[in-house]
Amino acid sequence: MADAGRHPNIKVLTMSEVADVKGYVGNFDVKIVKRARYVDEKNCTSCGDCTKVCPVVFPDEFNVGLSSRKAIYIPFPQAVPSSYLINMNECMGRGCSKCLEVCQKKCIQFHSSDEEINVKVGSIVVATGLDPYDPKEMDEYGYTRFENVVTSLEFERLVNAGGPTKGDLIRPKDRKQPKSVGFIQCVGSRSKRKGGQYCSNVCCMNTIKSTLVLKEHHPDMEIKVFYIDIRAFGKGFEDLYTRSRSLGVQYLRGLPGLVEELSDGSMRVALENTASGKIEYHDLDMLVLALGIKPSAGTQKLQEMLGLQLTPDGFYLEAHPKLQPVDSATRGIFFAGCAEGPKDIKESVTQGSAAAARAIRLMHNGMILSEPITSEVIEEHCKACGKCAEVCPYNAITVDVKNKIPAKVNTAACAGCGTCAAECAFGAIVMNHFTDQQITSQIDTLLAENAQDKVLTFACNWCSYAGADYAGVSRLQYPANVRLIRTMCSGRVDEKFIWHAYEKGAPVVLVSGCHIGDCHYINANHWTEKRVGKIHKKMEKRGIRPERLQLAWISAAEGVRFSNVMMQMESLRKTVSAEEIEDTIRILQYKGKNDKP
């Protein structure tokens, strides 16, 4: 921590959050908002004179509310930066000013305000960490009702020499040292009812560690651990587990069904011991809930800002679970630590180093090669209407509507979604590698034989196509008459592709892409949604059943959803008769002869 604070190449911005990210790999423009600290971070010597005179007392967050702090405080003694701060919502302000009077270094700055910092970076590493599971909803363990039921994080503070009790374990209700302690595992993990369904990875070992800490100081303490499985899979882990058992810690298989408080404040735990098959009661002075790990609160906001994907559990989705574990699907953005999934310190450090190496690999040349899958304007067809510039999520297109100067694409800024090409009414934009002809030829080929049996699906590269891959990896079976056409973004799916498909006898068409808010191209799928709505209306007008065109948002992690949608599409296809298809072809051909749809 201190190394990072001192390093000449690292600028540590605390109390700061990323407010906006624009740009693309190699050239991200980042807006950071740094909240006011009201204490001069550079000159504060953390002497603590200010906090002594501050009259305002609040619970201390670092000690999870087990001790108190003042309105002017330092989060913990080793904090980096080593500086006090004022919580202005708590401070009595100018009327008090006691801290201002005693600070010899004149560090108190009541008038400072939030700061906006703009910085250009080449790569981004998302290491937003975790939130511990909130056990309030799991009240069978009595966390909200019984003082002597504490969380594993509260326990950490209670045994920490720097904590509120200077490391002497006491139980909160009567401040007595407990003679027996129970640990309940998997609180918020591995449950279909409450918390996450996944294993939180660290809680088994954390509990084993805690039992060793307790046994070191209190060899006679009775310690019981209630568990489903003990997962001691890492290097050196089994040794610790064995040591814990040999010191007399009892491991009892089964999670308690009920916890009650006895008159002396201790806890009675009812357990179905799944090893012995018996119902047992265990009286313990204190209970510790081994909390699981949840994605940190700001994950979704950042995910939308950066156009990243999440797993159903809410953690960030890596580009490949084995081969690109710290890469995101967006070039130039990497993951490290619990942001990507629950993990321990060693794994977090490993990922941190891996993310750094991946970022260096990207940046070391000082330049990068752009993806050439970008759009291009055919100037002689362009009417300078401005539509392309309006829909471009990257502001990569400039067009002078007033002076009728044709559109121009900044290829470095173009990310290649193809929305401009789909929205251009004059065929003036070529989307390289996904041209009208290339996609139309795929449609023609797939509908050339037995068109009535096929389910034509447009899938975007980042979400729904990846979701289809995920269905494959999971061996989820779905009807074999589905045919996918990959585009980079669902925004590329031009209205004319859909009419063309129906004219060629397609019974049903599915347009699929990232969920709204998850679009890899910021918000290009909004245009997909609008467009599909427009086509639905036209279908209705022309006497074509609008249900035959479906829109589905499927994320890269939703293999199950993908296969379900495919089954629904197949059921829908079965409702389309040969006559209906014939009718549609006739309608569209007639329409085509008179005016282009």
């Binding site: 990072a4 000449p8 190449n9 600028k11 540590v12 911005l13 605390t14 109390m15 190699g26 991200f28 980042v30 670092f62 999870v64 080793q78 904090a79 701060l85 910085v119 970076v121 080449g122 790569s123 981004i124 590493v125 290491a127 960490g129 975790l130 045994v159 070992m205 954390n206 490290a336 619990c338 942001a339 310190i345 990922q351 941190g352 180093s353 993310a355 750094a356 970022a359 260096i360 940046m363 330049m367 090669l369 752009s370 050439p372 470095a412 290339q438 030829s441 080929t445 797939l446 050339a448 990846a466 289809a468 891959d469 494959g472 061996r475 989820l476 079976q477 074999a480 589905v482 996918l484």
Partner: protein, 207 residues
């Protein structure tokens, strides 16, 4: 049609397509009749070479394709194998090594989106595989070479989150001479780790 820098210009204007149906060991071949798919593709106009191949991505597989490119003057390739999300970069590199533009490649997804999801329907899966390959052939015939552009880059990294993972990332980057902005929403870096007493497996303090 323009050709890639250093690419062999073909003698006639017709595309010369090579089709490689990967068996992926048994991952694809167990369900899809790869030989039949390759045979069907052989009769499509502009397809010069079409064969099934055990592991297209392996070194022998790639060598075979590269040799065919040279021998038959192929100018575009269809690889029908796994998802392009997995091996498109591999085969684009292979194209480059054979002096072809990497974008003259098209992949048909016969594994994740065919053999693995229609395990119990070998006939329907084979039919689908044929369709997917045909679609790829028609598409590959219309592809044009593309050329990446060199764009400048800022040698600086934003690390969001000052827990142990973010700190490690920042230190490794900084020690390698890169500038880092380490952004933390709390008043101190350290994250949840800083709140822990002892940490496993070393049983030492966390800070």
């Amino acid at each position: 049609m323009t050709t890639a820098n250093g690419a062999k210009p073909s003698n006639d204007s017709n595309p010369r397509i090579g089709v490689y149906v990967c068996r992926c060991g048994l991952n694809i071949a167990k369900t899809v009749d790869c030989e039949k798919v390759a045979e069907t593709a052989k009769h499509i106009p502009d397809v010069v070479v079409s064969k099934d191949i055990t592991y297209a991505c392996s070194e022998p597989g790639q060598t075979e394709i590269r040799e065919d490119i040279r021998e038959h003057g192929l100018d575009r390739i269809v690889v029908a194998s796994c998802s392009p999300r997995l091996h498109e970069p591999t085969f684009r590199k292979m194209m480059k090594q054979a002096d072809l533009n990497p974008f003259m490649l098209e992949m048909a997804n016969l594994r994740e989106q065919c053999s693995w999801v229609h395990i119990n329907e070998p006939e329907a899966a084979t039919l689908k595989a044929e369709d997917l390959v045909k679609m790829s052939i028609s598409r590959v015939g219309l592809l044009s070479p593309l050329f990446p552009q060199a764009i400048p880059l800022t040698k600086r990294t934003l690390v969001i989150g000052g827990g142990i993972a973010g700190i490690q990332t920042a230190l490794d980057l900084a020690d390698n001479g890169y500038e880092v902005f380490l952004v933390e929403k709390n008043p101190s870096i350290g994250g949840v780790m800083a709140q822990l007493d002892k940490t496993f497996p070393t049983m030492d303090c966390s800070i």
